[in-house]
């Protein structure tokens, strides 16, 4: 759980970095997207690892939740769980499921069409009407205010998930140190707020400049 979580945290940073390019330069975003979408190592080695990482994290998360719920068949009639643990730490399954539902929409919007164009239609050129299609496709997706709203809401759930998940992954791996753990916690909070907020800004940017 922790290892796959840390792996996804690293992936998220990479995803964010490329998305951020779409704000500053359409050409740069197109170049990098084309490289990511057509490079053999990324497509045939790293992409399957990522898919496995996502599926493993989701499956293990739900398996652990089911097992942990089974460890207390009789609930307390009166419980004050908030007195000793944060909402984020107690509701990872809720924020996780919300992110998972978002992934369904995100795959429908971007990943499935990409897979269709490349692997079913056999078009690896990345071109449409004589120019790269990546920036236009991305930009077009954020015209619909409902979709933008759903994306922004999902990033809030992602932030809540990361607020606990980042430092929790280190603890599960046994990486706890009097000197370094407070640093990990601070970096975790910064990451959990800055990255999802950045994704929100990018989505709003594409919506507003349309």
């Amino acid at each position: 759980m922790a290892l796959s979580g840390l792996f996804l945290i690293v992936f998220l940073l990479q995803h964010f970095s490329i998305n951020l390019m779409s704000v500053f330069s359409a050409d740069l975003f197109n170049e990098v997207s084309h490289f990511m979408g057509t490079n053999s190592v990324i497509q045939y080695a790293l992409q399957p690892v990522l898919i496995f990482g996502v599926i493993f994290h989701l499956t293990m998360g739900m398996y652990l939740e089911a097992k942990n719920r089974g460890a207390r068949p009789q609930k307390y009639a009166y419980n004050k769980a908030g007195a000793s643990a944060s909402w984020m730490s107690r509701n990872m399954i809720i924020t996780g499921i919300m992110v998972m539902l978002f992934l369904g929409l995100h795959f429908y919007d971007f990943w499935f069409p990409e897979i269709k164009i490349k692997f079913i239609d056999g078009d690896w050129s990345g071109m449409e009407n004589g120019a790269y299609r990546y920036w236009d496709h991305t930009h077009h997706k954020f015209v619909d205010p409902i979709r933008v709203g759903l994306y922004c809401a999902a990033f809030v759930f992602l932030a809540l998930h990361l607020l606990h998940g980042f430092q929790s992954a280190f603890q599960s791996m046994g990486w706890r140190h009097q000197k370094y753990t407070p640093v990990v916690e601070k970096v975790g909070y910064a990451y959990a707020i800055i990255i999802p907020l950045g994704f929100i800004v990018i989505a709003l940017y594409h919506h507003l400049i349309h």
Partner: protein, 253 residues
Amino acid sequence: MSEKGMNLTLKIWRQKDSKSKGKMETYPVTNISEHMSFLEMLDVLNEQLVEEGKEPVAFDHDCREGICGMCSLHINGEAHGPDRRVTTCQLHMRMFNDGDTIHIEPWRAKAFPVIKDLIVDRSAFDRIQHAGGFISVNTSGNTIDANAIPIEKEDADEAFNAATCIGCGACVASCKNASAMLFVGAKISQFSLLPQGQVEAKNRALNMVKQMDLEGFGNCTNTGACEVQCPKGISLDNIARMNRDFLSASVKK
């Protein structure tokens, strides 16, 4: 000079035995002194019930000074009640106000089945200890004095802190997953930090974690509730140390 006592409404879990279905029952108690301990307040209730010809409420207790780990009540939604770093026997009625309703339940966990009313069976902890919470010492007459082995002060202090765990089960009771990892982490740490504990170090982590899982405790998701509710302030450091020991023993297996 007499002082006015508190009048309270107690909502207590009553369960005849392990096979019966229990339920919350309501009892009023009057004239409770703020200087009483929580268990003394329950003693007053039980005297009242006995006088009324009713079955007194069964609850665990022994030393009543916070060192034996027998008392185990979930009070107003928190293990050992609203105070911090205290067991139920050290909780005083001054933490409550006149007219309060107090909810009292046993620890809730699959691995801690209710025996009667507020008493749960915590022998799962004993079986985890039996699986590896010990060191093998030669008692044939050649035993080396423990003090003859120099130990760094920081390690000795941390081992001692881990050893202050009284095994009350508040960690399990307060964890949303009913996980016993703070208890097991402490019992592993108190040996793994010392040279005397190195002989069985590898098997200790593997065997105790295996037994913990067999007993039906949940898995740690690092909410930190156990550390907050632990009457002895056992640190999450011990869970991280257990995770390290377990991971390293699994790799070397």
